[in-house]
């Protein structure tokens, strides 16, 4: 059974005026996620990447079509049930949060027992493990507000892991990170995927990172699926040039065999 399934999904935001050329922000999106894969979602801005995440975490509901998680329709689940299966790591956290790392990671335990007032020792154990996995255990009592960007990112990931989800969704995980932390982040994700078997969905601007990390890619253009497949198939010169509107060249990485996208900078 696929971990997730999109079937003919279309969506438009109610507050914005529908455009003549593009009545839907997303239209006719259908794909399946296999358990344990690392799945990348690519595309230019306003292609619908963030909307996809919102649909997957039921922040918004599709105008048409259905979304299923492990065979159960999203609409039929309660919010807590969904949160136990799908965890989202947002791009960034609000500034100046007064909570400690531990308190923040513990928030990930909420969907498992929404009615309980205080967390149990089991919750504390899960949180501890998540912090260990992301290397923030020694920061457990530090206030999140004083951490660096990379550390905050790891804390957010720890919180998502504490949710013990089947599906982990990351929104631009490396967008604000230094190079070093980008490398660490990728390694971390790989480890999580391997050791826990968690399915990962990654939304990224960084074509090469996606190409290096993901098993399959989905390229969105103007709300439609432009191509779905392994990196070699999706990171293809003519396709990328058309979708992104600027000339690119694609080569092979000599070591890994994965495609590498080169941009033709105009001088």
């Amino acid at each position: 059974m696929p971990v997730a399934r999109f079937d003919g999904v279309a969506f438009s935001y109610p507050l914005t005026e529908p455009r003549r050329d593009r009545p839907f922000t997303l239209s006719d999106v259908s794909f399946e996620l296999t358990k344990g894969e690392v799945f990348g979602v690519l595309g230019p801005n306003s292609a619908g990447k963030t909307t996809l995440i919102r649909l997957l975490s039921r922040v918004v509901a599709p105008t048409r079509g259905t979304i299923e998680i492990e065979g159960v329709s999203l609409a039929a689940m309660t919010r807590a049930e969904l949160a136990r299966r799908v965890a989202v790591v947002p791009q960034d956290m609000p500034q100046g949060l007064p909570f400690t790392v531990r308190e923040l990671v513990l928030m990930g335990r909420y969907p498992h027992a929404p009615r309980r007032f205080f967390e149990t020792s089991d919750d504390l154990a899960v949180a501890r493990e998540a912090m260990a996995a992301t290397g923030v255990l020694d920061l457990a009592d530090a206030r999140v507000g004083i951490l660096s960007g990379g550390e905050r990112q790891r804390v957010a990931l720890a919180r998502a892991l504490a949710q013990e989800p089947r599906l982990l969704v990351l929104d631009e995980p490396t967008a604000h990170l230094d190079l070093r932390y980008q490398v660490e982040c990728v390694a971390l994700l790989r480890r999580v995927n391997r050791e826990r078997g968690t399915t990962i969905v990654l939304v990224s601007h960084d074509l090469n990172l996606a190409g290096a990390l993901c098993d399959r890619l989905l390229l969105l253009a103007a709300g439609r699926m432009a191509r779905l497949g392994p990196p070699e198939a999706v990171l293809e010169e003519t396709l990328l040039t058309t979708v992104y509107g600027c000339p690119v060249a694609v080569e092979r990485n000599a070591l890994t065999g994965r495609p590498v996208v080169q941009i033709a900078w105009r001088r």
């Binding site: 956290m93 308190e103 205080f118």
Partner: protein, 335 residues
């Protein structure tokens, strides 16, 4: 965690008890401690002065102060968590001004021969609070959602409107009644009759229960509404429930005691400095800590210039304004 909460509650309850005991012994009637103890033990005659003073005046007033302080502090915690803004205070969301307007109307309406009725005035206060709350709700809701920024703005607007309305009423009022109205607007704790105290306590309990049940959710709401939703929280429901409960608490206090400022701002901050940002600790301790705080202020108001009395609102503002400045200057991280 439970241990921390119990420990904090026990400490604050002990402080509250101590303050209450002191408050019973102090007053312009200057009764000796022995007399007070005897009266509390039931040793004084049914119509005696001691009975009137201790059982009819001091105890009811102490009870009213504790209830009002607790209600305001809990409402303050709720509003601050809801708006993710440390400057939020019960009066910021317009409800307090609406309740004031209702009460002023209630005091002016009614023939000159009619006497003051606590319940009638309280009813007017609620009416005003309801109108203001509904106005804020209608202005702030966008397609069925409740964006926080719009909520704050709507609250400020509604508050300004009703504040102006109160000023207009004051300028039209007879010079005779003016003193009474102005006095009320400063906020005062009065020895409420038992029936009113029960109603007040019931309302405070209801508001408290509604907010404390969402304490964990309020914590998660700090991550942002989208993130909270993704963690399984019905953000709209939490917002509406906390807003209505905090408005109810504020309206009760205004109806039974008048608009008392700063308690809802200072007490949550003081507790946050001591206990941290977790609302599961803050909400229950605010109920007790707020009560102790306002009781201290009211005891000062009652005794500082005896036999004349100051309005408790003056005392809380007097301490509140410098505290506010201190907050802004130090910008402690827990904000």
């Amino acid at each position: 965690m439970t241990r921390r909460l119990v420990g904090a509650l026990a400490t604050l309850a002990a402080i509250l008890l101590a303050v209450a005991v002191v408050a019973v012994f102090l007053g312009s009637a200057r009764l000796s401690p022995l007399t007070v103890l005897r009266t509390l033990g039931g040793g004084a005659g049914a119509d005696s002065t001691e009975n009137i003073v201790i059982l009819g005046l001091r105890l009811p007033r102490i009870a009213a102060a504790v209830l009002a302080g607790g209600a305001l502090a809990v409402a303050g915690v709720g509003f601050q968590a809801l708006t993710r803004n440390p400057l939020a205070e019960p009066s910021v969301l317009g409800v307090s001004a609406g309740a004031s307007f209702g009460v002023v109307v209630g005091q002016l309406v009614g023939s000159s021969g009619a006497l003051f009725d606590t319940v009638r005035v309280a009813a007017f206060g609620f009416g005003g609070a309801l109108v203001a709350g509904a106005a804020v709700y209608l202005i702030a809701s966008v397609h069925g959602t409740f964006p926080i920024q719009t909520l704050l703005l709507a609250g400020v607007i509604v508050g300004i409107f009703f504040g102006a309305a109160v000023t207009v009423l004051i300028s039209l009022v007879d010079i005779d009644r003016l003193g009474g109205v102005v006095h009320w607007l400063l906020g005062n704790i009065a020895p409420l009759p038992a029936r009113s105290l029960l109603v007040f306590a019931a309302l405070a309990a209801a508001g408290f229960a509604a907010i404390v049940s969402q304490a964990r959710e309020l914590n998660v709401l700090a991550l942002g509404e989208e993130a909270a939703r993704q963690l399984g929280i019905d953000a709209e429901r939490v917002k509406v429930q906390v807003f209505v409960a905090a408005a109810l608490l504020t309206a009760s206090v205004v109806a039974f005691a008048g608009p008392i400022g700063f308690v809802g701002l200072i007490v949550p901050h003081m507790l946050r400095l001591l206990l941290g940002p977790d609302n599961r600790l803050l909400v229950p301790t605010a109920m007790v800590g707020g009560g102790a705080f306002l009781l201290v202020a009211d005891t000062i108001a009652r005794n500082a210039v005896a036999p004349a009395e100051l309005s408790v609102g003056i005392i809380t503002s007097f301490f509140g304004a410098p505290f506010f400045v201190y907050l802004l200057r130090t910008r402690r991280g827990v904000l």
